[in-house]
């Protein structure tokens, strides 16, 4: 009798075009670069988010219901992201998540708008549409944010330089990185600094030395790079191998903490919005435990970003009463405040007009040879997001 009832229920679910799990869980769908050239940046975020959700489900889920995260691999390709979004919306997800290159955004935005389902950038660079006045359907928890990052970085360079900074710039040949470096170059001029050269480096480059050679020949005393970590660090190392002695400032992507330790160069400054594991906060112990249970094979230092995305997702769903709909989730996301427990300088707050955060907090780190450790050069500094 029970079996017949279960089969009838399953048939009813299928007939309604809804997966059976939709009845008992908050279903969210992610399209991300789990493999492909960009996987080093995004796969750890996705895996950490998955571990966080398992951790939440292990504690009883949200509002008494588990979260079900469906993950698809778009390899950083727009065509795959489009197919993923269609598939996920077919699975009746409440939120679409993107953890991939900015080139995958357009097809997912189109599908999100068509279905009226919110699109949440988790570990993927925040597009301007999430800044005030925000697009109604796009949200972002990712640490780095175009323009604000360069405003902070250029301000820091000016603040610590004893002479007028002669700044070289390095970007990856992708729209988001190029646009930011162009912006930073203009900003540097406005702030009285001297831009001396700008290198736009293609993503698959076998040897960074030719780019570094030209940069070095321009004789900068600072180089600023805002690009995926691989471009930043390989440009820096190529410059050092050419004998360049200046200072280099780069965005602190998820790899930054362990990379500072590998490189051990006090001239490499990294700025970012996530606290390093050296802080050893209680929440870091939580991350350690959750990732240990999930048996992730990424360094623990790379998992903060995914954990934060998981915290935001949990908060958004916690504010969504049962039975959930995308509209209810959207209402919750438009009025969200997440305590990051010290992982960021302050809470992540979303309002109807601001789907990025109301304040962006930065820290700067570099390697200290005498302490043989990464040290904070500048503590949390807030920029208002308007």
């Amino acid at each position: 009798m029970n079996r017949a009832l279960a089969l009838t229920t399953l048939a009813a679910c299928l007939a309604a075009g809804q997966p059976a799990f939709g009845q008992d869980a908050y279903v969210v769908g992610l399209s991300g670069a789990l493999t492909g050239p960009a996987a080093a940046t995004y796969a750890p975020v996705i895996e950490a988010m998955r571990a966080y959700i398992d951790h939440v489900n292990g504690k009883g889920g949200v509002n008494g219901k588990p979260i079900r995260l469906i993950v698809t691999d778009n390899q950083g390709e727009p065509s795959r992201a489009a197919a993923d979004a269609k598939k996920l919306l077919g699975d009746k997800v409440l939120i679409l998540l993107n953890s991939s290159l900015s080139s995958t955004y357009a097809p997912m935005i189109a599908e999100s708008k068509r279905a009226g389902v919110p699109l949440f950038y988790a570990g993927a660079v925040c597009p301007k549409e999430t800044y005030p006045p925000a697009d109604p359907l796009q949200f972002c928890s990712t640490a780095f944010g175009a323009q604000y990052d360069s405003q902070f970085a250029m301000g820091f360079v000016k603040e610590v330089s004893k002479e007028t900074p002669r700044v070289g710039f390095a970007a990856m040949a992708i729209p988001i990185s190029r646009g930011e470096i162009d912006y930073a170059e203009g900003l540097a001029k406005q702030m009285g600094m001297t831009p001396v050269d700008k290198q736009i480096i293609p993503p698959p480059t076998p040897d960074y030395t030719p780019f570094a050679t030209r940069l070095k020949d321009a004789n900068p005393n600072w180089v600023y790079s805002w690009a995926p970590w691989v471009t930043q660090v390989r440009t820096f190392e190529a410059l050092r191998r050419l004998g360049w002695k200046g200072d280099f400032i780069a965005y602190a992507h998820i790899q930054a903490e362990e990379e500072l330790e590998r490189i051990k160069d006090p001239g490499l400054y990294v700025f970012g919005t996530n606290a390093f594991f050296q802080d050893d906060l209680p929440v870091h112990a939580e991350i350690r435990a959750a990732t240990h249970r999930a048996k992730l094979n990424y360094p623990i230092t790379q998992l903060t970003e995914g954990f934060i995305a998981g915290m935001v997702l949990e908060a958004a769903l916690r504010g969504t009463s049962w039975p959930p709909t995308p509209q209810k989730v959207l209402a919750s996301m438009n009025n969200l405040k997440v305590d990051t427990k010290g992982l960021r300088g302050g809470p992540i707050e979303w309002t109807k007009d601001n789907h990025f955060r109301t304040r962006q907090y930065y820290r700067v780190y570099r390697w200290d040879l005498t302490k043989n450790a990464a040290v904070r050069v500048k503590d949390w500094t807030a920029l208002d997001v308007r």
């Binding site: 996987a39 796969a43 736009i200 040897d207 691989v230």
Partner: protein, 290 residues
Amino acid sequence: MQLAVNIVVLASIYALIACGYVLIYRTSRVLNLAHGELMMVTAYLLLTTASLFSGHPVTAVAAAALLGLVVGVAVYVVLMRKMTGERVLAAVLATVALGILLRGVVVLVWSAQQQYPAQALGWTNVALPLPGGAQVSAAAAALVLTTAVVYAGLFAFLRFTRWGIRMRAAGQNPLLAAQRGIRLHAVFALAWGLATFTGGLAGMLIALDSGLEQTMVVIGLKAFPAALVGGLDSLVGALAGALVVAAAEVLLIHYVNPLLADVVPFLVLIAMLMIRPWGLFGTREELDRV
């Protein structure tokens, strides 16, 4: 001087990768579009051998290169051998499928994160001063040296050894070679093994220089125009093609626009296809056959 050094290093990278395309093509007429992935797999194997031979970089590199050779032979025996007698296009598509499979395997086995084999080996990639104020990293210098040794070794192998002569014979006229008792499958398997071995050397040395992650696949593809410019059935051509492409790339980066780096190999290739479609040292007959 630094520009000349940059050209030589980049040309060595392209030449070392391109000789793998040439070895397989001139022997079996197959374009191996999984060459970049096979190169990447061998570079990742270095991570495994590095943990076994920590503190002995040469042993670890040699062990990984030999494993690469075995992987190349295995690919032929398990997959490409089955394509014998099929249309060339089918064999090429099989290599595309193989590439996709290998990319997935790499993520599953070694994860997607950036890796540093030099760190695993406890080896420091120091900068070496050169005359004229130029600098070169130790890994890049090793790469240039390795390319010279590999090409000298291949020329000697193909010219003077029994298996090398068999390989040339199989490439020139497989039917006649088979009738003379040459075991074609063994020759093709050896070509795949050697191609993966040389590509793997390039992959490992690039990884020792600047780290390892999945973009290495694209670097493998960037060397393909060098092979085509030189002539797909000529090892001398691969060397010359690599030098032409690398020189154009480095000089345009320095004097015109760094953004051109991505398209230069293909611009040179298009120019070559318009002037001399069979490449600098390629055989015209081969082009007709393709």
